[in-house]
């Protein structure tokens, strides 16, 4: 399989609408994404970038598909580390699916190459980010406040 993929899934006790807003609102995002936030119109075809708290662009790309509050697909290219940038575009898909009184959020991140360093670097961050997001939405507080260290 000439492809690297990571899948992350979590159940959050909230509504799809609120979760969509949490995934697209820059100020809210900063609280669970260690100060990082996304800038985008979040409609199909709009530009997308992931920016740190001093405005530095770490990753950028385009919204390939936006179907609120169900599905968001981002073409995701790293910009900071040359060896990761060289890998080109990866695809990040976020799916929101209501399950009883919760929403199942599944994030699939893949790139069409084996042993991708980009997917590996990005993947290190997702479990903590999702854990923080779940904790923030369910209890109003994040679990981790340490600075973002996964993508130096």
């Amino acid at each position: 399989m000439a492809r690297s993929t990571f899948v992350y899934a979590t159940y959050i006790r909230t509504t799809p609408k609120e979760l969509w807003s949490a995934l697209t609102d820059p100020e809210f995002m900063k609280q669970y994404w260690f100060g990082m936030h996304c800038e985008s119109g979040f409609t199909t075809g709009s530009a997308w970038k992931l920016v740190n708290d001093s405005g530095e662009v770490w990753d950028s790309g385009e919204i390939v598909e936006a179907d609120p509050p169900r599905r968001l697909v981002i073409r995701w290219e790293h910009q900071k580390r040359p060896e990761l940038k060289a890998e080109g575009a990866s695809l990040c898909t976020m799916e929101l699916e209501p399950v009883e009184k919760a929403v199942k959020l599944t994030i699939t991140h893949s790139v069409e190459r084996e042993a991708s360093k980009l997917v590996e670097a990005v993947s290190g961050g997702w479990p903590k980010i999702l854990s923080n997001l779940k904790s923030l939405m369910e209890t109003g507080a994040v679990a981790f406040e340490e600075p973002y260290r996964n993508k130096k």
Partner: protein
Amino acid sequence: MSQRPPDADLLFKALADPSRRRLMDQLHVHDGQTLGQLCEHLDMTRQGVTQHLDVLEGANLVATVRSGREKLHFLNPVPLQEIYERWIAKFEKPRLKALVHLKRKLEKSHG
């Protein structure tokens, strides 16, 4: 499969079985395997592997993705992160503080 949000009991139950932990190790070595590929590396019947995968999926430790006619199994580390936060980080903090305190005290008495 009818899905429902997994709770902590399901998660710990899923982890409390050596065969299921071996399956997780196998996915850690090579993520995104089919049932057939997983069976090749494990000394278990196909039916056994299927049942264990169902339990792991029910606990959200395994996520599946359809790729054409194949069903690929991926390790989902998010619940493990939650266990870490809830059952490890919380308890290790005071202990680490106590160690630092002890070290400071001992060094002081020897200084």
